[in-house]
Amino acid sequence: MKLKLTIALVILFTQFIHSQDFNFFEPKVTIGGYGELHYNNEKIGDAPSNAIWDFHRFVLFFGYSWSEKWSFKSEVEFEHNFVKNGQGELALEQAYVNYHHSDEFGFNIGVILPSIGLINEYHEPPLFFGTERPVYHNLIIPTTWFGSGASVYGNVKGFDYRVMIFETLNSDKFSLSQGIRGGRMKGYKTDASRLLYSIRLDYLNIPGLKIGGSFSFNNAKGDSTQVDVTIAEIHAKYTANNITAVFEFGNISYNNGELKASRGYYFDLGYNVASFFDLNTKITPFIRYSDINTAAETISGGEKEKRYHFTEWMIGLDVKPIDNVVFKVDYSEQTRKLDDRKSKFINFGVGYMF
């Protein structure tokens, strides 16, 4: 018996040393963040132009990994540099416990970001063109969209999936001019009697390409309204051979009230011209075209469907001396469908992530 025990001890000891050699994980705190300073100059129709400086977002990321499977992640966001009397905003945009069982399956629960559109989950400034996020991601898919929820995710044979239940939208706050944007509850004492259900599927096994879509349903309710909302969107992004190309289309349908549908799309095309000169800095001129109508279908029709319909051309430059720092400048022109009113925007900014 003693001999057996000794042998077991020796094996255990050598196994322990050996396994430590190949066990690269250590419990660890992670700190990260991103931020962006903007200059915005806008000229709406015939009104005089107006220019501002805005440290739009300052975000800190804290995480802790207890083990290879269990971790906590959070993101605290500070908007417009200052919080007072409804100016600026301080928000807990992410705070969730994550269980990562394997590539095929994991889940998280807490304050999370819905997997709707390309930017909501991946919104750091070096990851998109333009000083401001695409207008599609303001008016059609309202980023950053965060709130209480839980999701199951995984990747099977190149198909990346996420199924989620999420807090409801407040249908009282839906509007012709901003679609569902005002209805986000941001994790603040949301009515728990109803939920938003969402499923997203992407295919990733073609190098450089991400292509997929999502479908979400919510029987949204407010104090005075009740509206069933469905959000369907498709998205694709290609980054390879110095090309960056993006396309997104989204449609939101409402079953009750004046507003029947919000709809929009945009595409980006950029090329890293620094590749001609063999520079390590990435210098990417790009163009963007957007078509946005938050009141694409209404009960009354007519002018109402034109008032919030506009198209936008943007040209810009995205300069990345290193992958985590970006300087941006862009010019865009919006044309309102109702009366051909033109608005012009000049923006530039600097963004970073770590």
């Binding site: 018996m1 057996k4 025990l5 077991a8 001890l9 094996i11 255990l12 196994q15 322990f16 050996h18 396994s19 430590q20 050699d21 190949f22 066990n23 690269f24 994980f25 660890k28 992670t30 990260g32 995480g63 990994s65 290879e68 971790s71 992640k73 994550n98 990562h100 590539d103 994991g106 998280n108 390309l118 989950e121 991946y122 070096p126 990851l127 995710y153 990747n155 190149g158 990346d160 992407d202 990733l204 096994n205 073609i206 190098p207 450089g208 991400k210 992004k237 980054t239 390879a240 051979n241 110095n242 960056t244 890293n272 590749s275 390590n280 990435k282 290193i322 992958d323």
Partner: protein, 180 residues
């Protein structure tokens, strides 16, 4: 006697669980090496310790620190002749280490690249064979630039950048080892 038996069983359990923590990494490395170099290859494992100077010069060139001071080096033989090398290392994704293996021919050209263990909930697409196959044929003179000669993956930007630098680092290191 019963007490002894209990201790014995506890030990057996500990042996089993402590082994399983790392066994999957070692098994996967072995399978990857044999897939890349052929079933008849002999594998000799050693730890290569980086000198301060070497570590410093490669880190500066690539802009990324080494995970440890030691790199796991596999020398691959076929009929007593060296046919290639495997280097096992880690880089950090957003918060957790990514364990990866790069396999080279005897001249230092990449033959195969594989992610041995990915631990993050996001960005797992870097494990795909298609993404890793892009490194085939690269050597110390290659660019290793995401978006340029290496495709990006939307949603896996941090892992793509980090791994590309990690693979470049190992390629420079092997070149140094071979030139000695």
């Amino acid at each position: 006697m019963i007490f002894h038996k209990v201790i014995y069983i506890v030990f057996l359990f500990l042996i089993f669980t402590s082994a399983s923590v790392s066994q999957d990494i070692q098994d996967k490395v072995r399978v990857s090496l044999l897939n890349c170099f052929g079933e008849n290859s002999q594998i000799i494992f050693e730890k290569f310790t980086l000198t301060f100077q070497l570590r410093n010069s490669i880190e500066k060139k690539v802009g990324q620190k080494f995970f440890l001071n030691e790199i796991y080096l596999y020398k691959i033989y076929n009929e007593k002749k060296i046919i290639g090398y495997g280097l096992l290392d880690n880089v950090y994704g957003k918060s957790l280490p990514i364990t990866f293996l790069v396999m080279y021919d005897s001249e230092g050209k990449i033959l195969c690249s594989e992610i041995i263990k990915y631990r993050e909930p996001y960005g797992g697409a870097v494990q795909s064979k298609e993404w890793n196959d892009q490194f085939k044929g690269k050597n110390v003179n290659s660019d290793f630039q995401p978006g340029k000669d290496i495709s990006g993956i939307s949603g896996a930007t941090i892992s793509v950048n980090s791994l590309t630098k990690g693979i470049k680092k190992l390629t420079l290191l092997l070149n140094e080892i071979l030139s000695k």
